[in-house]
Symmetry: C3
Subunit: 429 residues, 3 copies
């Protein structure tokens, strides 16, 4: 029963990527909008093909073959050792283990695509399509599968209990596996591509470059909600054995987290800038979804609301700090919303999660180990890989490409050829 | 089996709100489009949090504790007496009654959000965000839950049979609980905020203020269809025990009602204005969905087509009368489409519904009692509450706010900062 | 179990039509965008009502009454003989055969609507709304049901085995029943309406008339994916007995086919025009979905990728040939994407399909018979019917209608009344 429910929930996953695509293209410039959307399709497509053919073998599945080594008195299960080029299923086959395995592949295929979509938000208006394709391939082939194996595939983070006597690291909806991994990827893309021309004046004062279509951004939030509920529910069932009753609360909690995140951002921006900021409020909504997904199946609705609200506040301040203090240009706020809120969500599992076994302190410790693994090993790895890739396939459009617009530069045609757009540029504030 | 089906159908509900959001922002002005969308997210968010924490206790559930009093020789069960701040579910819990209860909460959470979205259509271009938030909170805390209790929570309208010997009031898909309640709310918002500047000339002749993005309006209709099928199916299963076979017909009937409503509006506007009107045809589609939802699980496809077609004709004329005769300014036609067509749908249950028990006349009488309850008690209550709220949080933007646009006035930035829009205004026809 | 899964998958079908609608309106002119969307709603609506009331009786269902004749020593089952005006279902009914029958009706209702949406892409910017309505009615009443009966309703193509000793013709996801039938309809509409004014210079050199909103086109691709997965899965379960395990692979294969189609188009247009073309890449994505749907439940993921990739290449070249060599004006590429890729998908079933019974050569032969039936009998029939209809309801807008825009000409108002659009026209290249 739950497996059919899981399959249907997986089918809702494409809406998460569609929602994020609308958000990041809407937060970018109109002169790069078609490029943003085509980059999304290419990232999703490459991630799907590469993950199914290669990555899924390394993502592995709990209980199946895996690569491991011994160190510090424990066994470190670090990479799946499944079959490359899976053969699919013949007519009439209905083997239960095979079904579960295929479900995991399907779910992770969409999850890999979602993770590959997130960096597009950080690299908006200047990240070249060829580099997007290469980065997505590497992400789906190795980076995403390795961490997915650690958490969802029975790897060392899931087995902290067996090895070290603490509970296993828990990430029910992919806040770490999908969002933080994607968000760290976005961070390195932001670093490597540098700010857009005109974003920072010579004295470092940033110009506000507003998104070109806020209606699509806020509409994307609603689509993302539907997709998120699907992803959260499916991975809770498949990797954490959630029953149908828990899945109902997954849906309720996702809605509450998103709501609290959005409302918190509205209140904070209202308090600080006198008027609520629509773009940041959209980011608050997504931050709520991101943070809420880690513990979606094991917290009360009250906790889900708190987790989302805190995520909304955090994202708002992180976006401001990233722009004003760190002088980075992250047009869609991907780093704050996906990496930042995702890390908070992982910690929140230890604070608010209700578990049948294990002490709360033990769970919090396990979550901290996971956060450390993300920041201590995944971030350097992701950064190194992208630095290397950047040598062969330059990430940033050259010359006046971002001024001209990625649509004309890379695709030869604009997204809205019949509409008249302003020619004037934005000035530093 | 049906409960898993119900859960999945609930997961489609967010598309209904997303569709309505696209419609009402598209029928408003471009200078208020971001405000319309952010208002939607805030209304959905507040409704979700307030309903889960407070309202659901008052909405109650058939067979559970409720507040009631005795009068006229009968017991009047008027408000649920459930638990505030529900605790969610722990790991591994799979209690069937608890599951059903959680499903009802989840469904009604989305339904309350949908009801809170409807008034935004009537208040487009002038209703302040702060007032939207307050009104949504009151709606989700008390107004929606009380009527939901009467109909879906085992309240007095559902128990007409036990008390008065007529069949119970039936609203399978929420035409009354969601649409009419939301539509009456829209009516009071239209009254309180008054017409937009420039809508009526001094002699009362209305200006046509066309929607700014008809493509999004008509696309919203298709999204709404998917969400509506989900909501109709879920509530039919949960509150009226529909089996899987009936649910198939719920989907068919929803499509037929929407189709007939749209085509009827095309034909009527073609006949009256020489050319079909795209905006009104979109409203006809939604009117068909609204009216069809009351009886979705208990009518033949022929009846569903007739119900939708009549709703499309009714909505078209009501929109015209509201504007030309009553001199009200309802930019999205919310009153006609949700309240008007919803009431027609409730009556149609008595005319076309097929029931295992009870005479057709008895069912028609029960539906009339429900309609009377909506107009006789809910409308004054909703109006009074909104009048009171308006004293503390003024509903209408002050001064030249609607001329300037809600985006600049309340959010400080427009929705489409790069696109050039016409500066000229519309003139009375 | 699978029937509930099938029902839920059917509920995702509306997203396929919504996606195609966004694509064809976005590939048309802004001055015809509202018309394109209203035409879609009308086509869907008329198709739904006409199919449920009339067409479904002729589509029939395997094992039920059918019209047949004897010729060449075999029985030719060519049209269903079901009941017009189906009565729906009463309360509490849960008859299994009746449920299956209703599911088929529901699925085919949405499939007929999808087929009726496809020609709008070919007739963009010039096909009159009245003609759209008439053509959709005829398609849903007779053309679609007849071929659906041949394949899904137990007709002669499904029974090739019983009659001629070869395996039956297989079309798991509707590549033939929905896509090729719709694509051939688009072909005749393209022929009958002729090119848009200004498309071809006097010497036959075509002007590039780019779509007016590429963001919506690419977003439509993602929505279409969700709907396609639903349709592919539902028809695989219902007509080919796919189990839940196969359905997982249906979802994976659909994603892989779409991905490969899009990436192939990106690569080919990059190679030929120096820059990837976003519109054609969107068409590659849809071509992948179309071609992949025929064999979705019976091929390996590797084969699904190849099928999609070939479809993307084919569609790209066919679009170019249709415009440059055949001098036809198909704004949305409907003929290439739906008819062309659909035919390739049907052949691919014979090349890559894995079946429990029957030789590969036999299956290929059966598929060729189906392709021949589409080109040899359906195309002339569709062409004849549309030629006849064109006599009574002229298809092409008269005079300067396509120059003025269908919105003003047929609806009296534009889709984007507040946005400033360029007045200048495109010049031949």
């Amino acid at each position: 029963m739950s497996l059919v429910l899981c399959l249907v929930c997986v089918m809702l996953a494409p809406f998460a990527a569609a929602g994020l695509a609308l958000i990041h293209q809407g937060l970018g410039r109109s002169r790069s909008a078609a490029h943003a959307m085509l980059s999304t399709l290419c990232a999703l497509g490459i991630a799907a093909i590469v993950f199914v053919m290669v990555g899924s073998a390394w993502a592995g599945f709990a209980g199946e073959a895996a690569h491991s080594f011994k160190a510090a008195g424990a066994r470190w299960d670090w990479l799946g050792a499944g079959q490359f080029f899976p053969g699919g299923v013949g007519p009439g086959s209905a083997d239960l283990p095979e079904y579960t395995r295929a479900l995991a592949l399907c779910l992770e295929m969409f999850a890999a695509g979602l993770a590959a979509t997130i960096p597009l938000s950080g690299g908006a208006d200047r990240w070249r399509l060829a580099a997007v394709c290469c980065a997505s391939a590497v992400l789906a082939a190795f980076l995403f599968p390795m961490f997915a194996h650690w958490v969802w595939g029975g790897g060392w983070l899931a087995q902290l209990g067996a090895s070290f006597g603490v509970p296993g690291f828990v990430d029910a909806g992919g806040a770490g596996v999908v969002q933080v991994v994607g968000g760290l990827m976005a961070l390195t893309v932001v670093w490597i591509t540098g700010p857009r021309k005109g974003k920072f004046a010579e004295d470092g004062v940033p110009a506000a470059i507003p998104g070109h279509n806020i209606v699509q951004v806020l509409f994307g939030c609603m689509l993302a909600l539907a997709g998120w509920i699907g992803l959260d529910a499916a991975s809770s069932i498949l990797f954490y054995g959630a029953g149908a009753a828990q899945v109902v609360w997954v849906a309720i909690n996702a809605m509450l987290s998103a709501s609290a995140g959005c409302l918190a951002a509205v209140v904070v921006t209202r308090a600080r800038y006198r008027k609520p900021d629509a773009s940041i409020s959209a980011n608050g909504w997504i931050a709520g979804l991101v943070a809420g997904s880690a513990a979606c199946a094991m917290v009360s609705p009250e906790a889900a609301t708190v987790i989302g609200g805190v995520a909304g506040v955090l994202a708002t301040y992180m976006i401001e700090i990233a722009e004003l203090k760190l002088r980075t240009d992250d047009p869609g706020g991907a780093v704050s919303v996906h990496a930042g809120a995702g890390l908070w969500g992982l910690i929140a599992v230890g604070l608010f999660g209700r578990f049948a076994e294990g002490s709360q302190a033990g769970h919090l410790l396990a979550q901290m180990v996971g956060v450390a693994a993300l920041l201590g090993s995944m971030l350097p790895l992701i950064y190194g890989v992208n630095l290397l890739l950047n040598r062969f396939v330059p990430y940033r459009v050259d010359g006046d490409g971002d001024w001209q617009g990625m649509d004309i530069r890379e695709l030869g045609a604009g997204a809205y050829p019949e509409f008249v757009v302003h020619a004037d540029e934005f000035v530093p504030r």
